[in-house]
């Protein structure tokens, strides 16, 4: 496929996947049912299934996939490390802790309180990690990663503690576990309205740093030397990717591998330049999670296969393949 057709092709694939996803679910509905529902026609129960159950899931999957892929992509560029992903800053485990505590405290009564609590704790975690890593105005990458690891370990331990206490009550324990596994069940348009701005605004803002991240591939000193304000870029990229991760995990729990694998695939098809590969990552991330969620829904009658499990099942072998091909290409050049 020619370079110029990659992005339009992926956008088309995403549109098809999202449309197809609306047709999948326990109730067998046809394409004309879907179209009528969008035209405010047809039986109310069909409208409700399409617009209030399936549509939010499809939109959330697309937004979440996009946000996670871009957060991972930007962090891999910033840390100059292909293994960085949205969880390195402790934001994801912070969000989990917030959600688990909220569920345990009975806040689940209002469906939007759990993501709100998760989001607040995630941001507090990010601020703590940054504080711990900062020495004066200077924050080094290695101290950020170490602080992220330490804080993640702490918040994960606290989440496990809350979970083990909650398991005394079977129903509550089940709720907590289910949230920790990640997923898109029982989400409504309220979740979409939370995630929409928090996914789109930081994602678009990341484009501002695209060429700075390109220069960072030469190392921080050379980036400085060509005129990149490395400190400002680091601050900006950390804030934006923390927002993306916090918002996504708050709404759907941890969906692993999207933020790690998608950037590799995007760079593989669109080259290393961040302006192009960001766009590819965004679409590819959305596509991956929409497909994963659709498959998970299609199988929901027989087995509860979480989208996160699917992204890992698809992601892990794909990741190995990408790494393998990249290494072969490097060796061919050497």
């Amino acid at each position: 496929m020619s370079q110029r057709l990659v992005l339009p092709g992926l956008v088309l694939a995403l549109a098809v996947a999202m449309a197809a996803s609306l047709l999948v679910g326990p109730a067998a509905l046809s394409a004309s049912d879907v179209l009528r529902a969008f035209g405010s026609e047809g039986p109310p129960w069909i409208r409700s299934v399409i617009l209030e159950v399936r549509l939010p899931r499809v939109l959330l999957a697309a937004l979440g996939g996009l946000a996670l892929a871009l957060a991972g992509h930007a962090l891999q560029g910033l840390f100059r490390n292909p293994l960085a992903d949205p969880s390195v800053l402790g934001v994801a485990s912070g969000a989990t802790l917030g959600a688990v505590v909220a569920l345990y405290s009975g806040l689940a009564l209002s469906i939007l309180l759990v993501p709100s609590a998760a989001f607040i704790v995630a941001l507090a975690t990010a601020a703590t990690v940054y504080r711990l890593a900062a020495r004066g105005p200077v924050v080094s990458n290695s101290s950020l990663v170490l602080a992220g690891l330490a804080v993640s370990a702490l918040t994960s331990a606290l989440s496990s503690l809350v979970l083990s206490v909650a398991l005394a009550d079977w129903e509550l324990g089940r709720q907590l576990l289910s949230w920790m596994l990640g997923g898109l069940e029982n989400r409504n348009m309220g979740h979409v309205w939370i995630l929409l701005p928090l996914a789109i605004v930081p994602s678009a803002s990341l484009a501002f740093y695209a060429r700075d991240l390109d220069a960072l591939a030469l190392g921080e000193e050379q980036a400085l030397a060509v005129g990149v304000d490395v400190l400002a870029v680091r601050r900006g990229v950390l804030v934006l990717s923390s927002l993306l991760t916090a918002a996504t995990v708050s709404v759907m729990g941890i969906v692993p591998f999207v933020g790690l694998v998608v950037p590799h695939a995007a760079r593989f098809v669109s080259g290393p330049g961040h302006r192009k590969s960001f766009a590819t990552s965004a679409v590819l991330g959305a596509l991956l999670l929409v497909v994963a969620d659709t498959v998970s829904r299609a199988l929901s009658g027989s087995i509860d296969l979480r989208p996160g499990v699917l992204t890992s099942l698809i992601g892990a072998p794909f990741f190995v393949a990408v790494v393998h091909r990249t290494r072969k290409r490097d060796e061919a050049h050497a």
Binding site: G77, R80, N81, F208, R211, D214, A215, L216, A217, L218, G219, E221, Q222, L224, A225, V226, G227, V228, D229, R267, G271, P272, G273, D330, H333, A334
Partner: protein, 255 residues
């Protein structure tokens, strides 16, 4: 001739160590200044302090009449280009893409390269003999070729001052000489401050030598004057001499 770079009494401290202990030097337009000294003498620190990458505790630095630590990075990048010693590239950019990063200081964030930018990139590729390698991924090249590509990035930046940290360390003798000839051609109007290990190469290619030992300048001047047998012995621990004859500067090292 106006000075492109001035350091006055610069002190840099790391822990309890004075890594640079009151260093003063100047680089004027049209000259190549070679910074010599044993490992750990403070050469890299001096270059970084000159560009405000490493903070100084006292002293004055000026690049084009302003303190680099108060300049916007973009403005500084138009005045000085820097090649650090260890430069590992983390993504598969092509040589041409890397060289074009030297134009950041001249091109708006959202703008495409102008004809002038393309011309500067082409000239840099040509000057460093990289035209045939331009579309190769930089990481697929040898260490020496990568160094040349990164130096081409500095050239494309079109800054009057070049600050280069050991640009020849991974090159064979022939390549090292042709690289310094390219720097000489580039310094027609600008100047360069180059940290360098090879005494003979430095003596042959630099207008002036600044010898650094334990954070202090111990000798400076034209190669034959700065590198006296006493300096060679005390700073580098070698016996030898540097002479000028009709064929140029000759370095003789004994035992």
């Amino acid at each position: 001739m106006s000075a492109l770079l001035v350091l006055e009494d610069v002190v840099v401290v790391r822990g309890a160590n004075r890594v640079l202990d009151g260093v003063s030097l100047e680089v004027r337009a049209g000259e190549i200044v070679g910074l010599l000294g044993p490992n750990g003498a403070g050469k890299s620190t001096l270059l970084r302090a000159a560009l405000a990458i490493t903070p100084r505790v006292s002293g004055r630095v000026s690049i084009g009449q302003s303190d680099p630590s108060e300049l916007d990075r973009i403005v500084l990048a138009r005045r000085a280009a820097f090649l650090p010693q260890d430069a590992e590239v983390s993504l598969d950019f092509s040589v041409r893409e890397v060289v074009s990063m030297g134009r950041y200081a001249h091109v708006g964030r959202w703008s495409a390269l102008s004809r002038e930018d393309t011309a500067a990139i082409d000239a840099a590729l040509l000057a460093l003999d990289l035209v045939d390698l331009a579309s190769r991924p930089i990481r697929a090249l040898s260490a020496g070729e990568q160094k040349r590509a990164l130096l081409a990035r500095c050239f494309a930046q079109d800054a009057p001052l070049l600050v280069l940290d050991e640009p020849t360390s991974t090159l064979d003798a022939g390549r090292a000489r042709s690289l310094l000839r390219a720097v000489r051609a580039k310094c027609d109007t600008g100047g360069a401050l180059i940290a360098i290990h090879d005494l003979a190469l430095a003596a042959a290619s630099c207008d002036r030598i600044v010898a650094l030992a334990a954070g202090k300048i111990v000798a400076s001047g034209p190669p034959a004057m700065a590198l006296t047998p006493a300096v060679l012995q005390s700073v580098f621990g070698v016996r030898g001499s540097v002479d000028v004859d009709e064929e140029g500067v000759r370095v003789t090292l004994r035992g």
